[in-house]
């Protein structure tokens, strides 16, 4: 069990969408940037001292780290006292614009309103791998606290110099430096006037401990919330520039189809329409979306079809189409001997779980606006990896990265689904041909078809336990869905855990929590099956096999608040599921009831206990926990992508059901605020408990072991319905 925060861990293999060619990152010259910001204090980073910089900030270059014009600027305090922080992390609804602003305001002792964040603009912010893996809080929050503390230190030095006094006697408070002896004060703006100071990280300044936080740790509302309730905020799909055209891609009729020919005669005659055929890419751009749609429809392409698998045969396909093992250590874990434990055990159990593909379905589809100025390309797009998209564009157009600028306006969600630059590439290709800016916004059908999916999978578990309730052997095989959360956190002396890569029939990639949802589901459902065979209470059984204190705490404290030990009614049952993922500890409890004489199972209430260290914003955190549970409910109960011979059958919201208002039971959260521990992320971990908690409650009520995600088809086959 990981107790220390390990930020150097490799990426999970199921992030298939990231397997793009490696690229070298060279920043644009920063001189213009410094000039642009004017006088004041800059905090910059010149050395890679912590693992944080392996994903953020510059580390890939040798020998240039100390050149001031080439280093990354993280923070600027201007002559009017305005504070600007720069980060490559992006806002997709996780509310980090607010939580990161809190971190800056806290360390600088300034009101939240005086902090502005520049996010995800590749020309202005330090390099960042991307906003995924719940790393913003453990990495970027800490980084911005450090740079803010360094700025505080620089301001104190300025004041000490001005007053000719000992800097250690001065303090920062409310946007001012104070000399408590003389009661002299100087505002930040007074201090930085006409200065051009560069403070270099790392600084040794201590950070403010969480127990003393005044702005961080508070339930601060979304910093720019007003722009969203008034419709003022511009999402990527809202962006517009003069003379802009609208792009429309002519998609193949099925996956794997290649373009044989395209009759564009009719479209070529349309005024103002540009047609692009480049390999299998076929698209148009026109002054209105209506004309673009008309032009696209007037093209008569001929496609060469390739037979493709269908969802009907999905799970057999996954077992039959394994890829050769790569010998990657991360895909396999073994300790003790499961064989000898199995031969000597009193209780043995085998289960097989099937996990369907599901779609992210972010409400804002992929969108990009691309504009060329000579050989310079600028793209506004909704992506969780602005620098990754910059690389994709540079590669696609055979141009150096410094000639590409990617900007990411706060976007209409992602959930791990917006790691690639598809729309950006399409818009840029069209814009180059049209010699005008082009915007491409995917339709809902395109989003459901041509984005990537959360991987489907098959999971097989064999376990052995003794009558005293101790698990002695655990064998776990995951086919295709991935390795995130596949190691068990229960203390089991003999284990074999293995991931088997498969040649996936659909394009697949990251999704909120990755495979941790599937792996926790299988593990936690199997735990209840062992407990049942041993006639033990599921919560007691978990605690008997669990040493990790933080995980025990979420199970124990959550169970107490939920009332786990309360008697159950005749048609009532409780279920629990939990675990550890992306540094967070979670336990979710549900209560269900069966309407007598019917098969209607109702979820009465849900409680999620969560520990992510020192809480930065309890309101934002609760929003994430509840949201993750609701999103997880869809994949648990009814979401599944249906495909047939290379076509997505349910490619609309009318055919692919997602959670709606009436699906939501009363939801409660229990925050375990560990002010003594580092803050970590919360966007993903809270999603893993809901599916097994529901399945285990239904198992307790009906005796039906639910071995599939989603569960609804199996439930219906037994005459039940979950609502």
């Amino acid at each position: 069990m990981t107790q220390k925060i390990d930020l150097t861990a490799g990426l999970e293999p199921e992030r298939y969408e990231l397997h793009s060619p490696a690229s070298i990152i060279f920043e644009t010259n920063r001189r213009d940037f410094f000039k642009f910001l004017g006088a004041g204090i800059f905090v910059v980073c010149a050395a890679a001292k912590t693992p944080a910089f392996q994903e953020s900030g510059k580390t890939r270059r040798n020998g240039e780290e100390n050149l001031p014009q080439e280093i990354d600027a993280w923070l600027h305090i201007g002559e009017k006292g305005e504070i600007t922080a720069f980060t490559g992390k992006v806002e997709v609804g996780q509310n980090i614009r607010t939580s990161l602003s809190q971190a800056v305001a806290e360390e600088l002792h300034v009101p939240l309103a005086s902090v502005r964040l520049v996010m995800g603009d590749t020309q202005l912010v330090p390099f960042d791998m991307g906003t995924f893996g719940s790393r913003t809080t453990p990495v970027m929050n800490l980084q911005l606290r450090r740079v803010s503390a360094a700025a505080r230190d620089a301001l104190i030095s300025l004041a000490a110099k001005r007053w000719n006094t000992d800097p250690t006697q001065l303090t920062a408070t409310d946007g001012k430096i104070l000399d408590p002896k003389s009661n002299r004060t100087a505002t930040y703006s007074e201090l930085v006037k006409a200065q051009q100071i560069t403070e270099v990280l790392p600084s040794e300044d201590p950070l403010i401990p969480a127990a003393q936080w005044k702005i961080a740790g508070q339930a601060v509302p979304k910093v720019d919330g007003r722009d969203f309730v008034t419709g003022k905020h511009r999402y990527p799909s809202d962006y517009k520039v003069p003379d802009m055209l609208y792009g429309k891609v002519v998609r193949p009729p099925s996956f794997g189809a290649t373009l044989v020919s395209a009759d564009t005669q009719e479209t070529d005659q349309m005024a103002g329409v540009t047609v692009v055929r480049d390999g299998d890419f076929l698209a148009v751009a026109a002054p209105t979306t209506a004309l673009a749609a008309k032009a696209a429809a007037a093209i008569h392409p001929e496609w060469n079809y390739q037979p493709q698998p269908s969802s009907r045969e999905l799970f057999e396909y996954l077992k039959k189409n394994q890829l050769p093992a790569e010998g990657n250590d991360n895909s396999r874990y073994e300790t003790g001997s499961v064989e000898s434990a199995f031969s000597s055990s009193e209780y043995r159990l085998n289960s097989t779980f099937n996990i369907q593909y599901i779609a992210h379905a972010p409400l804002e589809p992929r969108a990009a606006l691309a504009e060329w100025h000579g050989d310079q390309l600028t793209v506004w797009t909704g992506t969780q990896r602005p620098f990754g998209v910059r690389s994709e564009l540079a590669t696609a157009f055979h141009m150096p990265e410094e000639k590409v600028r990617v900007l990411m306006p706060d976007t209409g969600s992602g959930y791990g689904g917006k790691h690639t630059g598809d729309a950006a590439l399409e818009a840029a290709r069209l814009a180059r041909a049209a010699k005008k800016p082009v915007k491409v916004v995917w339709t809902r059908e395109e989003e459901f078809t041509w984005a990537y999916f959360r991987p489907a999978g098959v999971i097989e578990i064999s376990s052995a336990a003794n009558a005293d309730g101790k698990i002695i052997a655990w064998e776990f095989h995951n086919y295709n869905s991935g390795t995130a959360g596949f190691r068990t956190y229960y203390d089991i002396p003999n284990q074999r855990i293995q991931f088997h890569a498969v040649n996936s029939p659909l394009r697949q990639g990251s999704y909120r929590g990755l495979a941790a949802t599937a792996n926790h589901f299988a593990r936690e459902v199997h735990m209840d099956e062992i407990a049942a065979s041993l006639k033990m209470d599921p919560l007691e059984f978990r605690l008997k096999n669990l040493k990790d204190e933080r995980l025990r705490a979420v199970f124990e404290q959550g169970g107490k608040q939920f009332g786990w030990s309360n008697p159950r009614g005749a048609h009532q049952a409780f279920g629990v599921g939990g675990g550890y993922e992306k540094l967070g500890y979670v336990a979710t409890f549900v209560e269900i009831s069966l309407k007598p004489g019917s098969g209607e199972i109702n979820i009465e209430r849900v409680l999620t206990a969560f520990d992510c260290g020192a809480v930065v914003n309890p309101d934002g955190l609760r929003n994430q926990i509840v949201g993750a549970n609701i999103m997880g409910f869809g994949g648990a109960n009814f979401e599944a992508i249906e495909f047939q011979n290379g076509r997505i059958v349910n490619n609309l919201f009318s055919k692919y059901r997602v959670p709606r208002f009436r699906d939501v039971p009363p939801m409660d959260t229990l925050l375990i605020d560990r002010k003594d521990l580092p803050s970590v992320g919360a966007g993903e971990a809270p999603i893993v408990g809901i599916a097994p908690a529901i399945a285990n409650a239904i198992f307790a009520l009906t005796g039906i072991a639910l071995h599939s995600l989603p569960m609804a088809p199996l439930l219906i086959s037994h005459g039940y319905q979950l609502s």
């Binding site: 969203f228 309730v229 999402y235 409400l363 804002e364 589809p365 959670p659 208002f661």
Partner: protein
């Protein structure tokens, strides 16, 4: 063949050239730069494009521009009066009823429509009326709280 349509939006008059079957959504977004109204599905399933037509919620993606000439159209941009937020907007802010907030415009317009017609909706009324609006981030419980709060805030000035 395009025609001219006279539109009354947020108390202002506009004249637009469009095909009769062009959606109100694309006219708002492309021609009038009223981008607060969002595209989410194009089939009336998600509610992101909700606007008020004569005070009632309607999906602008399925509304041909030719059918709304002469009617009073309200979009999210027209709710606040002189910098004073509509009570529903204020309630969404107060309850933190958003994450990515891409659904927020449509949610607010639907809620305003509900409260225009029913000042004190029951919990069941709220769920029934809002069922057609999707929030993928899962802020539904907070949206319900916001609608209740706006309802309790009293009289809803009819836009």
């Amino acid at each position: 063949m395009t025609s001219k349509y006279a539109l009354r939006i947020n108390g202002q008059s506009f004249s637009v050239d469009a095909d009769a079957d062009t959606s109100l959504l694309s006219v708002l977004r492309e021609q009038l730069d009223l981008t607060g109204t969002k595209y989410g599905c194009g089939e009336g399933q998600c509610g992101a494009c909700t606007v008020l037509i004569d005070g009632r919620a309607q999906r602008s993606c399925l509304t041909p521009v030719s059918t709304v000439s002469g009617k009073s159209i309200t979009t999210i941009e027209g709710l606040a009066k002189d910098d004073r937020l509509h009570p529903v907007q204020q309630a969404f802010l107060d309850e933190g009823a958003m994450q990515c907030a891409y659904c927020t415009s449509g949610m607010i317009m639907s809620a305003v429509s509900l409260l225009n017609n029913k000042h004190n909706p029951s919990g069941a009324d709220i769920l029934k009326f809002m069922q057609g609006n999707i929030c993928r981030c899962g802020t539904y419980p907070r949206i319900v709280s916001a609608v209740r709060k706006a309802s309790a805030a009293g009289k809803e000035p009819r836009p």
